[in-house]
């Protein structure tokens, strides 16, 4: 059974990973964050809590997710490629791992109301799912632009019983959905639990969500040792906020022989202003309750990100990634929209696995790796591509 363990990368008592992280929120929310931190300290290593999480992860989500040897692409690349199949989880992505645990925390705190922000809608669907399961009232904040382009996920959330608020302010995407979720939370801090979808936001969220997602790397480590009798040379994952990546990396970070590589959205190219590469092109700054790398202008106004995948379309990144970048404990690179799309088709036709646009970024990096020959590599396949079908159909135009 998975239970988090203390890590040398745990933040300090106020949530700082080096200079990053922290709690940059209006005072009204501070008591709620203190309470959440206290509650998290109680359950972090508590067997009874994790037994309950384990039950849902096994019987409801379908964990452990397989570590699949992708033979066809391995042959083509002259390497050994394993895919960690988070795409096979219930609701279609890694998001559910985090949401189950946060939903159970909301219950323990006696909160009946849950809110969440969502970009592509995956975290919104996962949250709506868990609220249906645990009998919680669910309200989702989603940018108006995303509501229009992810119509199917909006319907899914409604079908699951959630209320979906279309956010009209700012760039009308994930960033603004999070602004409005925070505004709603400030207003209803006393009786509402905010389920943040990634390793971002004020402390203790980045650490908590990391612990909840680290089940990915915990399983992958055991699985690869069993199949190959050794650790992988590389673990690759895509990064928007960074939760699937942190989850996949966590149990390999202290093994010097394993290189963890996070792939940011290169969009139309990092030399243009249309990308989501906050680590490469951003500077440290403060947004949504945390200090981290941000895409911003010289005055500190936040810039809009761009990516073919709505899940990577965010101008910030989780603070622990900012720390790992400066610390050198994780390598970071990026993949463009075109390269990701190419990998989307490649994996579909070579392995019969349709990856999400987000995960396609991690897959695409295999083709960019120069020293790949004979290497043992795990790619975290964070989600499946069903949600991207309409967008892909318009771009690919197969006859």
């Amino acid at each position: 059974m998975y239970i988090p363990s203390a890590s040398i990368f745990d933040p300090d008592d106020n949530g700082h990973f080096g200079i990053f992280g922290g709690r940059y929120v209006p005072e009204t929310l501070m008591p709620a964050l203190f309470e959440l931190k206290k509650e998290y300290e109680k359950i972090r290593f508590d067997k009874d809590f994790w037994k309950e999480v384990d039950y849902y992860l096994k019987d409801y989500v379908g964990r452990p997710s397989p570590l699949y040897f992708a033979e066809n692409i391995s042959k083509e690349l002259g390497a050994k490629i394993y895919l960690k199949r988070e795409d096979l989880n219930h609701t279609g992505a890694h998001k559910v791992n985090n949401v189950i645990a946060q939903g159970l925390m909301a219950k323990r705190l006696g909160m009946k109301k849950v809110i969440a922000e969502t970009g592509a809608g995956q975290h919104g669907v996962a949250t709506a799912t868990i609220c249906a399961l645990l009998d919680l009232e669910c309200e989702i904040f989603m940018g108006a632009k995303d509501v229009a382009r992810q119509e199917l996920n909006v319907f899914r959330m409604k079908l699951l019983g959630a209320k979906v608020n279309s956010v009209e302010s700012g760039s009308r995407t994930l960033k603004d959905a999070m602004n409005d979720a925070i505004r709603h939370w400030v207003t209803n801090a006393r009786d509402t639990f905010y389920i943040i979808g990634t390793v971002a936001g004020p402390h203790p969220y980045p650490m908590m969500v990391r612990d909840f997602q680290a089940v990915i790397g915990y399983e992958a480590r055991e699985q690869i040792l069993q199949k190959e009798n050794r650790l992988p040379d590389k673990v690759i994952a895509c990064i928007g906020g960074g939760s699937n990546a942190i989850g996949a990396f966590q149990h390999f970070l202290q093994d010097t022989e394993v290189e963890c590589i996070g792939i940011e959205a290169g969009g139309l190219g990092v030399e243009t202003d249309k990308h989501g590469a906050s680590l490469l092109k951003g500077r440290p700054g403060i947004l949504h309750g945390q200090m981290s790398y941000l895409l911003q202008d010289s005055d500190g106004q936040i810039l809009e990100a761009h990516s073919i995948s709505a899940g990577l379309d965010y101008p910030g990144i989780g603070p622990e990634h900012a720390f790992h970048k400066d610390n050198g404990s994780v390598s970071y690179d990026n993949v463009t929209d075109d390269e990701a799309l190419d990998a989307f088709v490649w994996l579909s036709q070579k392995e019969g696995i349709i990856p999400a646009f987000e995960s396609s970024h991690a897959v695409a990096y295999l083709k960019k790796l120069k020293d790949i020959k004979d290497k043992l590599i795990i790619v975290n396949l964070s989600g499946r591509g069903d949600k991207d079908m309409i967008q892909a159909k318009d771009i690919l135009k197969f006859d």
Binding site: V25, G300, I302
Partner: protein, 246 residues
Amino acid sequence: MKQLVAYITTGYPDVNFTADLALALGESGVDSIELGVAFSDPVADGPIIEKANFLALERGFRFQDILSVSKKIAKDVDTLWMGYFNPFYQYNISKLLQKASSLHVSGLIIPDLPHEEALLYSDEFEKNSLANISFVAPTDTKERIKELVSNAQKFIYLVAYAGITGAGKSEDLQKIVTDIKSYSNTPVYVGFGVNEKTAKEKSKGVDGVIVGSAFIDILLQDNITLTQKIERCSKLCQIIKSKINE
């Protein structure tokens, strides 16, 4: 006499107007001006101030404008800078506070820089004789209030309700005001949701009020001239000042 603090979004519709308005408000009974730094993601603000922020940015507001307006007004009316932490942080806090001090600004109000994160900068504030205004929220426990106000400078910003600026909410603040006063002699000003109608009620038991959305609401009216906007804001200021001191 109870004090009145007015928030205005700098650069909407332009910086000359902001300076004129600030000076006019100073003559109409406002005791301090909060010069607002427009930000792309103002999470503590309701739709009115959020809109003014977006419009100011659309019209080309730059951080530099805060400095030029301060230069024009800060000697005549007590001036504080109000804004989210990121634009301040990008300027470089050390440089920023020296600059503020040299322009005769008296303090900063940063809604997303809570006590724990602000500690890192308290020496710099002190060195430059600037107040970093302490917030107290109605969700705070007595124990936390003690921590928040023990070193409070200039005034304590008591948030009137759990929520965002300009919402029509109210909460009973009597107990929290008593708690604050038991730990600090620094004046307590109430902000959030204070307007012509609520000013008298909200000022009960405290030393002043902070008004933002009610002024910005006038600035956003599009069927009146700039001169009329200044007149109406000045009038509102006189009404509120007399209501809180009735």
